[in-house]
Amino acid sequence: MFSPDNKISRGRFYTLAVLIIAAFTILGGRFYQLQIYQHQKFVSRAEANRIREVAQPGPRGLIFDRHGRLLVDNRFTYVLSVIPWEIRRSPKVMDELDDFLVTDQEKLQERLKNSYRGAFTPARLASGLDFQTISLLAEHRLELPGVILSYDPIRFYPTDAKLSHVLGYLREIDPNSLDKMKRSNYQLGDLVGWNGLEQEYEPVLRGKKGIRYMQVNARGQEIGSVPDRKPVLPRPGHNLYLTIDAELQAYAESLFANDSIQGAVVAIEPSTGEVLTLMSAPQYDLSLFSGAIEVNDWRTLRADTTRPLYNRAVVGAYPPGSTFKIVTAVAALQEGIITPDWTVFDPGYYRLGRRIFRCWKPGGHGKVNLYSAIEQSCNVYFYNLIRKVGIDNWAKYAEIFGFGSRTQIDLPDESPGILPDRAWMDAHYGKGRWTEGHLLNMTVGQGNVLATPLQVAHFAAILATGGTDATPHLGLAYETENEELEKFKYASHEITAVSQKTFQEVMKGMLEVVNGEHGTAKAARVPDATVFGKTGSAQNPHGETHAWFMGGMRKDDITLTIAVFVENGGGGGHTAAPIAGKIFKKYLELEEAKHVPKSPGFISQNLKNEQQ
């Protein structure tokens, strides 16, 4: 039976009551902490759970030439990717894909391996698919689980001018540079300018990403947009206008391509530093890089012994040959060491101690003064002269003309060349271990002197203007949000260390080079225009002599200075000068035809309007 004697002490009741109240008070306090005190923190955590920010790439800025001709356009390419994890679950899909893509299984597997970034990350198998293939694949998409069709923006090059070393290309950002660029809102998989102007003007060209907010569930599936969050619209990048004249550029490229020769051409408007043509031959096809480059194409380019990827005009540094004699001439005149009438007899050789230095012309040039020495490029005259000038004076003027340092052109990886002054020689050979023999070599642009074709063209521009040192550049202007053109500004200054008289005297010699009876660059002549120049034939221990021509052309207010470099081209007068002459003529022809703009965005007019 029950015991009716239920003697409950009040103490036990209160003990349990206090325990119950205490437990629920703690729980209530915890809810207060989470729901009131830390409310905001958990709201943002819940929002972060359900909202996925999907980046919308902003279209990259287009690139135009100085006359508003489109050089780089944006297009879309169809891309086929697969999710590796899904493919592993249904391997049949890969067998079916090779029929659709008309390729063999091995190639597909290789591409899958190459583009594998993780089991759930889409791996790209093919791009640039045509519309027919895409529609066929879309029709069968239910039978192809794990296959994703999408489109990617790619660069498209609609002009004849290849401009491979000028424009550069885009590449997927790599994890190393991503760390550095994270602040600027880059993500893995973003395309970034990897070379040339695409790299240099990345901040201008790059579009601003937009954001789409998608609601996702716990499995990560997108289940619609988020109504209470406005998407951020992507903003296109700025359009870029170049100083390049696409027609002149294409013409220069064709001169090298038709003869299958290697080398470089840099043509500059001397008073402004605007580069109208910058080319390195051989070129390569930039459209190879417009999407993801095929590994085989890349290997072929890398293995090509003519080194098409190498920018000879800006990155390559070569002995400048006799073009460098002008430096010695300027130094001697400006320092008052000689007058132009100072004469030397050239028997065809020059003896320094027990060594014999030969002139390029067997038998020699006989009696020569400064003008004829430049005209005929007499080595012996300059051997004599450099011994009077000395290395310090010589290096001083070479430095003034920009040798041994970068011109600061707006292209990546520019080489400074080498200007061997006394300090350099001491460091290189050891103090007292180098002789005047080295100096004799250097005065004719041989030995340790190295210069880029760009530096030589820049030198020609200074000579043509009588001392205007304008930074060579390719970027002319960019288009602002208000569709106005904003011109880039570059440094420019007048060289005062060299007198106008000195410039005029060397110019007299350089005019003779083209126009004189014995001139070495008669092939550079242009009817009705004034042309000056200097040839160079730089001996090259690795092969055939390099051919050089530097010079300028003027007719009325049309001016152009140029450096032509032909790798292993032989004599400068024979190989390089005719190319320069053709480019001068072409430029005159283009300018005199009062070139009718093809695009309403005619840059020169816009700029003129702005100035008014």
């Binding site: 039976m1 029950f2 015991s3 009716p4 004697d5 239920n6 003697k7 409950i8 002490s9 036990r12 009741f13 003990t15 349990l16 009551a17 119950i20 109240i21 437990a23 629920f24 703690i26 729980l27 209530g28 915890r30 809810f31 207060y32 989470l34 729901q35 009131i36 830390q38 409310h39 923190k41 958990f42 709201v43 955590r45 819940a46 929002e47 759970n49 359900r50 609601q215 996702v216 569930n217 716990a218 499995r219 289940i223």
Partner: protein, 410 residues
């Protein structure tokens, strides 16, 4: 006494206050379950809502039926009910079904979970034994039977393995011993080893605990031998525990460890608790509105119709409603232990205390789990969580409690 009269008296003893609180809690539970199962395209979940209503009706019927049983019969059948339920529980060892653990029992189209009903049966069994006349409470031997009654089902569910239910059985035993006027030192002597184990992982907590043990032993004025035995026993237990800990299964360790640091297992129970806290915290004062909880409806909240149903309330109805529910629970439990003091017989009083202990443990452990104050043990929330056996058991328990409160004068 005519039967008509008896029924009238019985109804007069029905505690409408408790009944009202039960209805309030069950209704809010249904609202939350409705929201948690209102997922488009997942009909099996939707069915759960309707099933819960059906189970609720069955449970309420059972509650009233049990209420109208004569208390004397309940008392006399206590051991039989205990024995029969234990037999069912033992049978699950051989015929049970369930993923990974065999706690279910298939009866035609229903699945029965005997361990749920074992909780009620244990309350009855213990109440009957502890209310016996012949007990000399000062004799430690009287603890033997209650411990056997408790530890046998505990051992069975522990090996299923169902750690949560095993803890529920222990949570029933100690308050009932306390309520039966068992000397407090006995309870201390039994519980002390447990604390020795819990504090053993940290030298300072262990040192403090042992100091407390020494103080209690000193004031209890026991023989030197007993004092030494207790002291040495607790100290050596504290030394052995860390070694035994390392022999535990990894998932068992993890379950306990997530209590202390959520980052140990971000995709397991720690992840669940994090999502639950996020749901509750984002609810704020007024909640995000029924059907508008993103954690619930985008399925970030795990087990949202069973173990984490209270997180749905936290997210969608907010702090105000949560606080009201907590207060309702407090009222319910205080009312019940008050009724236990009013019982004229010890059996009824103990049944009520056993039932309250069972419910209290479930409620506190479950809610504390949703806010990350306790590890994920898988104990459902009475009157809220989806689950047929558990809901019916809860109503049966209320039937037993309300019955115990009736027929005050024997």
């Amino acid at each position: 006494m005519s039967s008509n009269n008896w029924i009238r008296k019985k109804i007069a003893d029905f505690d409408w206050g408790v009944f009202f609180l039960i209805i309030v809690l069950f209704s809010v539970g249904l609202v939350a379950l409705n929201s948690a199962t209102a997922q488009s395209g997942e009909s099996y979940l939707r069915n759960n809502f309707h099933k819960q209503i059906v189970w609720g009706l069955i449970g309420a019927t059972a509650m009233f039926s049990i209420f109208f049983i004569q208390k004397r019969i309940m008392f006399e059948w206590s051991y039989i009910i205990y024995g029969a339920t234990l037999l069912l529980l033992v049978l699950t060892l051989f015929f049970g079904t369930g993923a990974g653990s065999s706690r279910w029992f298939r009866l035609g189209m229903f699945q029965l979970q005997p361990s749920e009903f074992m909780k009620v049966a244990l309350v009855l069994g213990l109440a009957k034994y502890l209310s016996s006349h012949r007990l000399n409470l000062n004799d430690p031997k009287i603890l033997i039977v209650p411990f056997i009654l408790t530890l046998v089902p505990t051992a069975i569910v522990f090996q299923q393995p169902d750690l949560g239910t095993a803890l529920v059985f222990l949570a029933i035993l100690f308050p009932m011993l306390f309520w039966a006027n068992v000397p407090l030192f006995y309870l201390f002597a039994i519980l002390a080893p447990l604390f020795s184990i819990l504090t053993a992982f940290n030298f300072i907590t262990f040192a403090i605990w042992i100091a407390m043990v020494l103080a209690v032993l000193y004031f209890s004025q026991l023989s030197l031998f007993t004092t030494l035995a207790h002291f040495i026993g607790n100290v050596s237990l504290g030394l052995v525990t860390p070694m035994l800990w390392n022999s535990l299964q990894l998932y068992q360790q993890t379950r306990v460890l997530t209590l202390f640091d959520l980052s140990i297992d971000p995709q397991g129970s720690g992840y669940q608790v994090l999502q639950s806290q996020t749901a509750i915290g984002s609810g704020g004062l007024w909640g995000r509105g029924i059907g508008h909880g993103t954690q619930t409806h985008l399925k970030f909240l795990p087990e949202q119709h069973t173990d984490f149903i209270f997180s749905v309330i936290g997210e969608e109805l907010g702090f105000i409603v949560v606080a009201i529910i907590l207060v309702v629970f407090v009222f319910l439990f205080l009312r019940l232990i008050y009724l236990a003091t009013q019982s004229k017989d010890k059996f009824s009083s103990l049944v009520i205390i056993g039932g309250v202990s069972l419910l209290f443990f479930h409620v506190v452990v479950n809610i504390a789990m949703t806010v990350g104050l306790m590890p994920v043990t898988g104990l459902p929330l009475p009157l809220f969580s989806y689950g047929g056996s558990f809901l019916v058991m809860t109503f049966v328990l209320f039937g037993v409690i309300l019955n115990s409160n009736s027929e005050r004068i024997v």
